[in-house]
Symmetry: D2
Subunit: 485 residues, 4 copies
C-alpha cells in the first residue's frame, strides 16, 4: 500500500484497506456489543460524565471488531482516539474501516509488511502539533517501545550527535524501528521527548508487554506510569485461558480444516495460554502432549492426564504443534525437518520468534507453497516432505481466525477502560509514579460482576455474620491478593 | 448464473462458479489426500485392475474438497463421473473447479437457487445419448427422487396424457421438480424410464435418504437396488457423530464468532448427530439442553449430565439452538419470537424444514439483515429483538464452514466406494434385488482398519484359542450384526 | 462355612453369613428403592394383578442390595423366589440376610469357595419335591449351564451307565460341576430332566451368558426358551457403559486408595464395558491406553483421543491394567512380571480367566501378601517387585466395591422383570421356542421412559404430522431394530 | 474410650483403637510410600544428616496412612514426634496403630467424641517435664488455638485470678476447650506459657487455619512464627483441587453407592476445593450448579459450563449438596426441609458448621436413622421425607472415605517437611518473626519437581539465551510471586 494518510470528509485521518467494508464492520460491531456487557456497562455508567473529555488516547492493539467496541467505548466517554494494530495479520479490515469512518483515526490493515506496521504505529502516536497522546493502550508494548527507543536515541543524539544505526542489529524488525527513529530525528530531534512529557501513562495487556515493563522498572528506565492489565484475574485467567481455548481450534479449522480428533498434538508451554490450548485439543479428541520448563505447570498437566515430554522426544510422532511459551526458539528448523508430512506448526503465544521462521526461510532448497493466505506448506528438499505453517509463525488465532470472541475480550477491555480512567483521573495527583501497577482487587471483581448478568448467573450474598466469620467485607473484595483462582 | 453448460478444452461439460480457483482447489485436494487414507488405499488396491472400466457414475453429494478426493478415487478406478451438489450452499467452489478442470463433469456452485439446484441435478444425470448413469452416489436422495418422480410422471403421462402440475403442491421445491419433469416430458417422454433400465443401483449415505429408500421398499416402489451406506458403523457412528462434533463449532465460529463458553445451548434431537453436537458444545463450556422424543436417547443424554427439556420450556433462556432431528417443524416462528435478542438458530440435521424458515420469512413486519452470506439477523417488529439464522436454515456446517473434515469423510466415502464396487461387480448376477442392503460387517471393519495406520494405532491379534473361546474368526468379523458399538 | 441349609422361623430355607445384618440390609434396600424407579413402577403397575402367582423363580445373580429390590419386585408380583449369587465375591451380606429374613430363599455370602459357590447354585435350583423352578433369572449363565450339563450327564448315564468324570477336565471349576452332578445322579438320575421339563425359560443379562446361549442355539442344544436381556439397549448401553464408568473407579479407590490422576492406565477391550472404564479413568486425570482386536472399536477409541496399542508395547509403562474383553488369557503372568512395582491389575469384564491367575499362583517363588480381603500384592522373586491384584482376578467392581449403583441396575432389572413376565405370560402359547429372543423395542423404550421422571426429564411429543413425516408411530417405537444409539 | 494413656513395650505413649491392626497399617504404609515420592526423596536427601536431631514435633493432622508416611519421614530425619488427628472422624485406625507401635506417640481414633478429641490434642502437646513441642505441624489450627487460648487464660488468671468459664460461650466445642484449660490451670498455671517459650514455630496447611493465623498476625496476637503451607502452589492448587476431585466421589460412593450420573448437584463455593468437586461431579455425569459470593469465581464456573445460582433457587431440584466454602451457615435446616427425599448433604470444606447440624438436630420431631457409621438419614416429621447427611456434617472425604490419595498428599506433606526444616534450621537466627510466611517459590518448584519422575515426565531445559530473553534463571524459579497457575 502507498503509505499516505487519507482523510474522511469530516477530516479524520486514516489508512485502511477498503472503506467499502465499513457497513459490514458496523453490523458486526453491533452484534459484538450484545456480547460485550462490560464495555456497554462502562458506557452507561461513565458516558454521561464524559470523564475522558480532553484526553488523547493512542492504542496499539489488534484492530478487530472487539477492539472497535473498545474504541467506541473510549470515545463514548469523551476521548479522542488514534489506533494501530499490534500485529501485521490481526486487523479485521471491516472493523478498521467502520471505525475509521465513524469514530477514530485508524492505521491498520490485514497483511501489513513490517515497514508498513511501524509506519502505522508511528502514525498512531502522531497527534500533530502539540505532540503525542495523553494515554496509551498497549498490547505487546510496541507503542511503548517506540517511545522509549525514540527518547533514548534523541538523548544520545543530543549528547553525541550520533544517529541510530540500523546496521547495529541483526534483528530485521529492530532495524526498521531504528531507521524510523533516525529519519524522524532529522526533522524533529525532540519529538519523542515531547511525547514523554505529555504522557500520563500506559495500560498494557499482554504477558510479553508486561514483562518488558517490569524490566524497564527494574532498570529504572521506565518513562511513565504503567498499569499491568494482563495480571488482572479477569484478564489473564480469562482471555489467555478461555480465549485461546476458543480461538486455537477456530484458527486450526479455518486454516486447514484438519480433523483434530485422533491426532497427536504438542503444546509447548502450559501457562494460561497453553492450558487453554491443551484443553481445547483434548476435548476435540486429540492426544495432547505438553512440553514445559516449570515443574509446577508440568505437574498440573500430569494431573489432567497430559504427558510431559521434550519436543525432541515427540517431534516425529505428532501431527499438530502449538507454541504458547512467550519465549523464543521453541520450534527450530531442525525440529521441523523431522516432523511428519503435513504436520501443522503454529504459534499462539507471542512473537513469531517462538518458531524459527528465519531458519525455515533460509533452509537450503526449501520450497514454500501458499495454500491460501496465512496457510503455507513448506517442503524440504531431502524427503519431499512438507509441514504446514500458519500465519507465518505469528499469532494464528488472529492471523487465521478472528481472534478471541467478544465476550472474553469484554473482560479484558473493561480492565483497559478502568485502567485508563484511573490513570487519567489521577494524572495530576502523583498517585502513580514511573512504576508498574496492577488494578486493585475490587475493580477486578467489578469487571467479573459486569459479565454475570449476560450469562444468567445470580450471586449469593454474605450475611454480615458470615462476612465477619471469614473476615472480608460483605461486598468484597473477597480474596487476598495472593489468591490464585 | 446463466444456466448453460460449458466445456473444457478436452470437451468435458461443467458449470462452476470460477475456473480460476482450480489451482487453489488442487492444493487443498492434495492436502486432503493425506488425511483420507481409506480412499487412497482403495486407489492402491483397486486402481491397477480398473474395476469401474465402462461404468458411468452420477453423484449428488456436497461438492467439497473431500468429495473431490472421492470423485478422483472413482475415476482412478476407471469410472466416468458426473457430479452435482446435494445442497445449495455446500459446494466449495475451488473444489468444484479443480474437478471440472481435471477429472469429472461438475455442475455445482455455492449459493445456487433452488431452480439452479435442480438444473444441476438434472445435468448430473444427463449422460447424453444412451441415457443416464449406471450407478448413483446419493446423499439425501435427491437424484434418486428425481428419477422416481420422473418415471412416475412418464407412466402417468403414457397412461392418461396428464402432465405433472406444479400447482398441485404447496412445496416450493417440489413445484420446481415437477416443472422440470414436465418440461422434459415434452421432448423425451421415456427419458427417466430409460435411465431406470440402465441403472444398476444407488448407494445412499444419509439417514434422511435411507429413510426414503426404506419407505419405497416398503411401498414396493423402489426402482433399483440400493445400498444403505449410512448404517455402516464406520459411517453413522463416525461421520454423523465425530464429523458434527468437529463441524458444528466450526460453523458457529465462522458464522458468528460467538463465545460458546458460558452460553446456554439447546440441541434438538440426541441421535448420532445430536450426540456429536452436544458433546462439542459441552466441551466448549456451554450449558447444553437436549430435546428428545425417544426415551432411550433421552436417558443417554441424562447419563452424560445433559438435561432433557421441551423447547417450549427453555426457548427464552437459551443462546444457541441447533436442530439435528431429521424431522420437520422443530423450531417454529412462534419459538423464534420468544428467543433472546441475537439468539443463534441453526440446523445441522437435514433439510431446512427443521426450522420454520417459511414462517419466519412470512412473518408480518419481520426484517432480514444479512450480516454476511449465510449469516442473517432477522428482527421482529414487536420488540425490535433479533435472532441470527445460519445458512438460511440449511446445513450450517456446510453453509457456514467447510463441512466435515477429510479424515472422517474418508470413512464415509470408503464405504461409498466399496458399495459402488459391490453393485457394479454384481450387476449381472442378480445378487441385489430392488431392495435396500447394508454392507456386510467384514467390509465395515475393513473400512475402519484402513484408517488406523494414519493415527498410529496397533491392533491386538486373537490367538486361535481365544477366537474359538469367543466363537469368532480370528480375522473377524468380531461382532454380531446387532452390536451397537 | 458348614454347607447346611438353615431355616427362618417361617420355614424358609437360606444360607447366609450373618443374619444380624438384616436390619442394615433393610435400610439400604429402602434407600435403593428410591433410586430404582423402574422396578418400583413395575410393582405399581403389575402388583395388583399378581401375574407371577404360582411361579417359582430361581435367580443366579450377584446378591446385592439392588438385586434385593429386584427379588422383592418379583415377590411383590406374586412369585416364589430362590436365589444364589453368580460370583463368589459379589454378595453383599447385609442384602442377603435381609432378603433371607424377609422375602426369599437365599444361598449366598461374600467370599465363597468354588465348592461353596456351586453348592449354593444347586440349592437355588432345588425346589424340593416337584423339581425345579419355572423360570430362571441368570447372569453369566451358570444356572443354565448346570441344568444343561446335568441333563447331558443324565442322558449319557441313561444310555451308557457312565458317570461324569471330574478328572476328564483340567478346569478346576468344571471339575466341581461334574462332581456335583455325579453325586446327584446317584440319588436322583432324572433330577435335571425333570427340571428341564418344568422350565418355562430363562432371561439372561450378560454378554458372556448370552454368547453361551447363542452357541447352544446354534448347536441345537438349547433346552428351553431364553430372552437375551443383555442386548436391550437399556441394558447393554447403560449397565455395561455407565455402570462400569461408576463402579471401576469406586473399586479402585476402595481397594487401593490410589490416585488415578497422573497415572497411565491400560484398558483391554473397548466394548461397552471398556468404553465406560476408559471414560472414567480419563475423566479422573489418567492417561488411558486401549488394546483392541476390532478395528471399529479401535477407531472409536482414537476419535476420543485414546491411543490403541498392544499390551506388549505398554506393559512396563502403565500403572493400572483393567480387562474388559469377555475373552480369556488377556493379561498373562509373563506380562505381569514386566510391570512396574505395585502396578494394579484387575478385571471388570467377565470370568477370572481374563487374567492368568493360574499362571500367577503357580509362578515359582511368587509371594502373595494380602493387604486386605480382595487386595493382594504378589511379589516376584526375581526383582522383589510386586503387582497388586484385585478381587483375585474376578469382577473387581463387585469384589472390591458394591457393584453398579441402583439407578443403572434399575434399568437392567426392569428388563429382567419384563422378560420374566413375558415368558410366564406366554408359557402355554408356544410363542417362544427353544431359541434366544430379545425384547421388542417398545418395551426397551418403556424401560427408559420409566427412569426419566426421577431425573426430571420431559420428553417432546411428536405431532401426528411429524410422526407421519418420519414414518414412526407418534408413541413409538421410534427407531429401526438396527439403530445403534 | 477410657481416656488413659497407654504405653508400648518400649515406653512410648499412645492411645489408639486397636493395636492388632498395626500389621495391616504397616502394609498400607508400604504401599503409600511408593506413591509419595516427595517424602521419600526427603528421606534420601536429608536422612543422613539428621537435621531434626533433638527436635520435638507435635502434629495435629488427620491420622491417616499418608500422615503415617509424613510422621516416619520426620522421624527418619531425627525428630521425636507426638500426634493427634484434627478431625474426630478422620483417623484410620490401622495407620494410627502402626505408627503407635513403630514410630511415634499417637492419640487418635476414628469416631472420637469432642471431649476425646481435645483430650487427644492436649496429649499431643504434652511432652512431660520440660514443656511442650519445639515445632507444630497443624491442620486447621486446633493445636495452635489451644496454645493461644491457654496462654490467654493463664495471663488473665495471673492478672485477675479469673478462670476461664465454659458457660461464657454457646459453642459446645469451645466450652470443652475452656474446660480443659481451666482444669489444667489449677495444676500448672504456666503450662502454656512454657510451651509458647519453647516453641520455634508452626507450619499450617489449610485455608481455615491460615486465615486464623493471618487474623492473629493482624491483631498482633500471634505467639510464634508460622509458615503458611496452604498457599504453596503445590499445596492449594493440588491437594485442594485434585485431592478433592478424587475424594469427593470416593466419599459419596462409599457412603451411599448413589449413581452420580444423571443427578443434579449443588456445589456451594467455587474455590480450589469447589473446583475439584464440581469437576468430579460433572465428569461423572452429574449436572452441577454452583453457588458463589465472588464474581470472579462465579465467572470461572460459567466458563466451564456450570450455572451459578443461589441455594434458595435450586434447593428443591437437586439430589446432592456439597459445601466447600470455608464459611459457616451455608446449608441451614430450612434449606434441608425443602430438599427432595433422600437428597444427600455433605461438607468437604471446613468445619461442620458449614451445615447447620445444630439446627437439624434440634428440629422438632426430626428422626435420625443411622444407615451405617457416618451415613445418617434424617426424616422430617411434616412430610416423612428424609435427607442423608454424611459424616455428621464434618469432612466427608475423611469421614466416609480415606481422605486424599497418597500422591497428592505427598505434595502437601513435602511442603510441611520443608517448612519444618526451615523453621528448625533458622530457630536461632531470628529470620522468622512472629508472623506468617509462605515458602519461597524455588522450594515450591522443588516440591513439584520431586513428583515428576513417578509420573514419567521429562522437563525441557531453558538455554541460557532463552533464560535471558525471559529474564529468569535457567534453573528457576520461573514465575513471579503473583503468578496464578
Amino acid at each position: 500500500m502507498a503509505l499516505s494518510v487519507e482523510k474522511t470528509t469530516s477530516g479524520r485521518e486514516y489508512k485502511v484497506k477498503d472503506m467499502s467494508q465499513a457497513d459490514f464492520g458496523r453490523l458486526e460491531i453491533e452484534l459484538a456489543e450484545v456480547e460485550m456487557p462490560g464495555l456497554m456497562a462502562c458506557r452507561t455508567e461513565f458516558g454521561p460524565s464524559q470523564p475522558f473529555k480532553g484526553a488523547r488516547i493512542s492504542g496499539s492493539l489488534h484492530m478487530t471488531i472487539q477492539t472497535a467496541v473498545l474504541i467506541e467505548t473510549l470515545t463514548a466517554l469523551g476521548a479522542e482516539v488514534r489506533w494501530c494494530s499490534c500485529n501485521i495479520f490481526s486487523t479485521q479490515d471491516h472493523a478498521a474501516s467502520a471505525i475509521a469512518r465513524d469514530s477514530a483515526a485508524v492505521f491498520a490493515w490485514k497483511g501489513e509488511t513490517l515497514q508498513e506496521y511501524w509506519w502505522c504505529t508511528d502514525r498512531c502516536l502522531d497527534w500533530g502539533v502539540g505532540g503525542g497522546p495523553d494515554l496509551i493502550v498497549d498490547d505487546g508494548g510496541d507503542a511503548t517501545l517506540l517511545i522509549h527507543e525514540g527518547v533514548k536515541a534523541e538523548e544520545e543524539y543530543e549528547k553525541t550527535g550520533k544517529l541510530p544505526d540500523p546496521a547495529s542489529t541483526d534483528n530485521a524488525e529492530f532495524q526498521i524501528v531504528l531507521g524510523l527513529i533516525r529519519d524522524g530525528l532529522k526533522s524533529d530531534p525532540k519529538r519523542f521527548q515531547k511525547m514523554k512529557q505529555r504522557l500520563v501513562g500506559v495500560s498494557e495487556e499482554t504477558t510479553t508487554g508486561v514483562k518488558r515493563l517490569y524490566q524497564m522498572q527494574a532498570n529504572g528506565t521506565l518513562l511513565f506510569p504503567a498499569i499491568n492489565v494482563n495480571d488482572s484475574v479477569t484478564k489473564s485467567k480469562f482471555d489467555n485461558l478461555y480465549g485461546c481455548r476458543h480461538s486455537l481450534p477456530d484458527g486450526l479449522m479455518r486454516a486447514t480444516d484438519v480433523m483434530i480428533a485422533g491426532k497427536v498434538s504438542v503444546v509447548c508451554g502450559y501457562g494460561d495460554v497453553g492450558k487453554g490450548c491443551a484443553a481445547a485439543l483434548k476435548q476435540a479428541g486429540s492426544r495432547v502432549i505438553v512440553t514445559e520448563i516449570d515443574p509446577i505447570c508440568a505437574l498440573q498437566a500430569l494431573m489432567e492426564g497430559i504427558p510431559v515430554r521434550t519436543l525432541e522426544d515427540v517431534v516425529s510422532e505428532a501431527d499438530i504443534f502449538v507454541t504458547t511459551t512467550g519465549n523464543k526458539d521453541i520450534i527450530m528448523v531442525d525440529h521441523m525437518k523431522k516432523m511428519k508430512n503435513n504436520a501443522i506448526v503454529c504459534n499462539i503465544g507471542h512473537f513469531d520468534n517462538e518458531i524459527d521462521m528465519m531458519g525455515l526461510e533460509n533452509y537450503p532448497g526449501v520450497k514454500r507453497i501458499t495454500i491460501k493466505p496465512q496457510t503455507d506448506r513448506w517442503v524440504f528438499p531431502e524427503n519431499n516432505s512438507g509441514i504446514i505453517v500458519l500465519a507465518e509463525g505469528r499469532l494464528m488465532n488472529l492471523g487465521c481466525a478472528t481472534g478471541h470472541p467478544s465476550f472474553v475480550m469484554s473482560c479484558s477491555f473493561t480492565n483497559q477502560v478502568i485502567a485508563q480512567l484511573e490513570l487519567w483521573k489521577e494524572r495530576a495527583t502523583g498517585k502513580y509514579e514511573k512504576k508498574v501497577y496492577v488494578l486493585p482487587k475490587h475493580l477486578d471483581e467489578k469487571v467479573a460482576a459486569l459479565h454475570l448478568g449476560k450469562l444468567g448467573a445470580k450471586l449469593t450474598k454474605l450475611t454480615p455474620d458470615q462476612a465477619e466469620y471469614i473476615s472480608v467485607p460483605a461486598e468484597g473484595p473477597y480474596k487476598p491478593a495472593h489468591y490464585r483462582y
